[in-house]
Subunit: 326 residues, 4 copies
């Protein structure tokens, strides 16, 4: 598929015509592709626990994170209400009790997160065709707040380690657009356990986080991990995202899509199709490295995945500590 | 076991002598009873998925929550950085893209949460005998921050619905102290699937949240759900908590322990034994009602439980959306 | 002036017709009645410093404040980033240096504050006739943010101690509507120094805060200081507020206006005239007690007043520590 | 005075011996040099209002500020609870009322601020000889919280425009250490109105903010304004700060002192003398440019200054919008 770099609007419109799920689960639907995970899928996922090894796929939430304040997206600020030092000094509790307590201020997209269905709009329309302003006001997402999927996002996970399958030394370069062909090649290279089907949650490793970590270790800081150039999904994968009927997809990058984006003066055009039209759950900034190493070692690429977002009422996205169990 | 209401200090000291796990997993241990969950336990847990039904055990994180500001523990405040209304008006993005984004300020114990091992101290000592002030400073928990168990807290969960087994109409009254005898009676009443063993995560339902919800529905508000009188674990269960070798335990109450506490002028004395000495992970404000109804219906009380805390670096506790799958 | 309790809309419309300042300072104006304070007024104000005594008119900003979470208006939460305890333990600074540092999370209307011109709208219209949504978006007030008056709100202040002049034991009862007649009677009772003119900032003491403090001292807490019944300005004072050409007015109450409001099912109708139409700066929750005692003692009711709001860019209101100097 | 770059500890100790004010205002003192502002000084200050021109000396509090997250000092994050867009859509208020409301999260040293007396310690000692940990705990500054000077910091201000008097094109280069000789030369150059005496608040302009603004205008961002190299007070001015008996001093820089500091591996050594030993109020990040231009134009360098900090209970520093009136 050839993209006309000058016509993002046209390309988006065409993709929407091919891929829209509006109305598919009724006019009142608030779950989008989370509808595609059923009990059978979760049984299938649980059956994949063969060893009991767990992998937290979350980056840490901390002030030393990659955010640089774009659109007020800062790193989390964690402060203490009480500490062990206060306890040693005496806090007024009886019988020698001491306590520590804490608080956090954080943008919900600061670190590992799910985008909710109210996160992105297309020409003022939210998921299922609703007016953006009828859904998300200053009081939050009135309909598709992340709490609606608090119990849904768990089932079979599949890792597509495109970095290893297609890249060099396990990493794709910045600006590399992952196409459906790359995804299919990765599946083919990884074998039977990497087949992707209806209701699966797909994790795409690009190696971008591996690279950021190397930069950090070398004293160069996070660089442009948050918002800068990165490998990621090509706009052309909209049809694959729709056709496979996956329930969710996450990457180890800030922005899911390839960056710079594939159109002139564009910004995250695949989001504009995937979230409001496909109703797809997109995860960003997931840490897939330890899981990927394990999958490369044993050749098994599917696993139980729990990725239950923190149910902040009305949130248009939410931090999550996804857990993969093999 | 008879408690001398006037001698909390003595009772705590005696319980510590019987129940301490200091040194059990080495001088450097930072995991406490999370050590008791092994791969076999997780395989056992995953094998309990028979239907694929999921239950989010998290209350919502919202400004309408039960907190009243005690020691600066407020309810979460969720605000928007961008909304659908802004998107309709135009946000300066290209090709019709619009977006909503958000931020939260919340005490980490505001709603459903795990207490970390750095949350409570006994006479200035933290888990494994360390000085409280060496562990938790204003920069957070330097050793046992909740991120250390980001991948651990998943395995076999067992619901002990003490409210249904011992209470009236499914609820225990405020001030009801749940003893080991009550726990054993509940297990006996619930049958084989409710057996509790090494490495399990036990969920104790008292019915207190059910009652709070009824108050809310009747327009009386949360009342004293946060910090007021409540049923809960008796101080005398310290030996049961230690002897069963469970990995974690959570309740549907604010404070885990019975309140008012069982000693004169006491404050959460069981915490003082359980966290710094047993190294036990305690969950509070979990929502067990839907799960409990399902267990009562099918008579099966164990399930696959993932309860991976949000890994806020250095946190002495953390919000969590625990997921039970049956 | 007789109010028809059933017709808030009509009363507001009529008041707007009599009192509107739209266009008075040009179509581009962002200052409203702050235009009325000129250099001469500030010279007049400074000349009132006869003794050099200062009075901070600010309540404290703290978690023990009166807010109860209405519309997410909580009390400020102040937390430490570093403490003296950390300094004693060692913070890694050289040559024996230690430091403490801190952070605050607070609604801008949590305590003593100025309402900005973007705080209140009338039928979707902001100050000077602009569309509300053109002025205040999720990025804040684009035109009349409080920073625009960072240097303006200083001049001659006049205390009208209506509580002392009209009330019993210095306090007006809750629900007492202060009319223009009461204001005039207070001025007459207080004498020459209480004359109110163009560009003045008027401080109206009702005694409501005095009462709240007595409640606090008696262990009854703040009660309904924030949002509950209170004495305050009658809706009928709109013409006085407009005709006197004052630059600002502040009270010792949460809501400036009498509460309950004077119409059935109304909410702060005087705000709806005063802010978007008169362009008036309204201060709330000011602490006038110490100043009032001094004025009562020496019979002098005017003074040098600086009330420079914290210039948070785009804020629709801002905390302030007003300083009166006599 | 020659500094031995290798002996910060010795130099600090010697300066402390010469300059300590411990005990000067009694063992219970919590005001430090704020004691030096008396009613006569405020009368003197008010008499300086000759024209009525006001100057806000505050930078804006905003997410686009200079902070880079050092020790969790981020820029303020201002978010909306309600907006004009919500008002246009309908917020449920009666009679056409609409409202906007907002909230801020900010480190108290994020922008223009006063350091409180609990901000800096010397070898574990706070102002007046108290133990640091007895003064500032996780609950804030128990004794010298900024609220104690809520009504004090107003009086005669004097601008010393060292940038203009000593620098090139009105600016001192980064790393320039302002000595007492430079201060005296500036006073001499500025003339009679620049005499500094007991109880004055001195504002030292270096031109560093002017330079940062030029960088901003040229698209280079704030650079290292926060924490990087800058002109500032030499450590050797400790005696001048003490001997002049000034009540406070503020600069247009992040750190008040020259940076890099004048000792090897040092960090803010002058703070270590000035705050805990002299008890001096230090202001940072003040915006002196407009005031300085006015003073240069009319040759008058003293004025009325109100610099009343926001009285956040227990704060070790506080944001302020200082107002100079000439």
């Amino acid at each position: 598929m050839e993209l006309d770099r000058t016509d993002a609007v046209g390309a988006i419109r065409a993709a929407v015509e091919r891929c829209s799920n509006w109305g598919r689960w009724g006019a009142d639907d608030v779950l989008g592709t989370a509808n595609l995970i059923d009990d059978a899928k979760r049984r299938e996922g649980a059956a994949l626990v063969r060893h009991g090894r767990t992998f937290s796929l979350s980056q840490r939430f901390e002030s030393e994170g990659p955010q640089k304040g774009w659109r007020r997206r800062t790193n989390p600020v964690h402060t203490m209400l009480d500490t062990g030092l206060d306890a040693e000094r005496g806090q007024g509790f009886p019988h020698g009790l001491g306590g520590a307590d804490d608080v956090v201020f954080m943008p919900l997209q600061a670190s590992t997160q799910w985008d909710g269905l109210g996160h992105i709009f297309d020409h003022g329309r939210a998921w299922n065709g609703r007016r953006a302003g009828d859904v998300v006001t200053s009081e939050g997402d009135q309909l598709t707040g992340i709490e609606t999927v608090a119990a849904h996002l768990a089932g079979r996970g599949v890792l597509l380690d495109v970095g290893r399958a297609v890249g060099v030394d396990g990493e794709l370069p910045d600006g590399f657009a992952i196409t459906a062909a790359h995804l299919r090649a990765t599946i083919a290279a990884q074998g039977e356990s990497a087949q992707v089907g209806r209701g699966d949650i797909v994790l795409v490793r690009t190696g971008r986080l591996t690279r950021a970590r190397r930069d950090l270790a070398d004293g160069r800081g996070w660089g442009d991990y948050a918002g800068g150039a990165a490998p990621g999904l090509s706009f052309t994968t909209a049809d694959w995202l729709h056709g496979t009927e996956i329930a969710g997809i996450a990457t180890d990058t800030w922005g899911f899509e390839v960056r710079p984006n594939e159109f002139d003066e564009a910004f995250q055009p695949l989001h504009q199709v995937a979230i409001p039209h496909i109703g797809l759950f997109i995860g960003e900034m997931w840490d897939l490295d330890a899981l990927a190493a394990d999958c490369a070692a044993d050749g098994v690429y599917d696993f139980w995945l729990t990725a239950a977002p923190l149910p902040i009422t009305g949130a248009v996205g939410a931090p999550v500590n996804p857990l993969a169990v093999k």
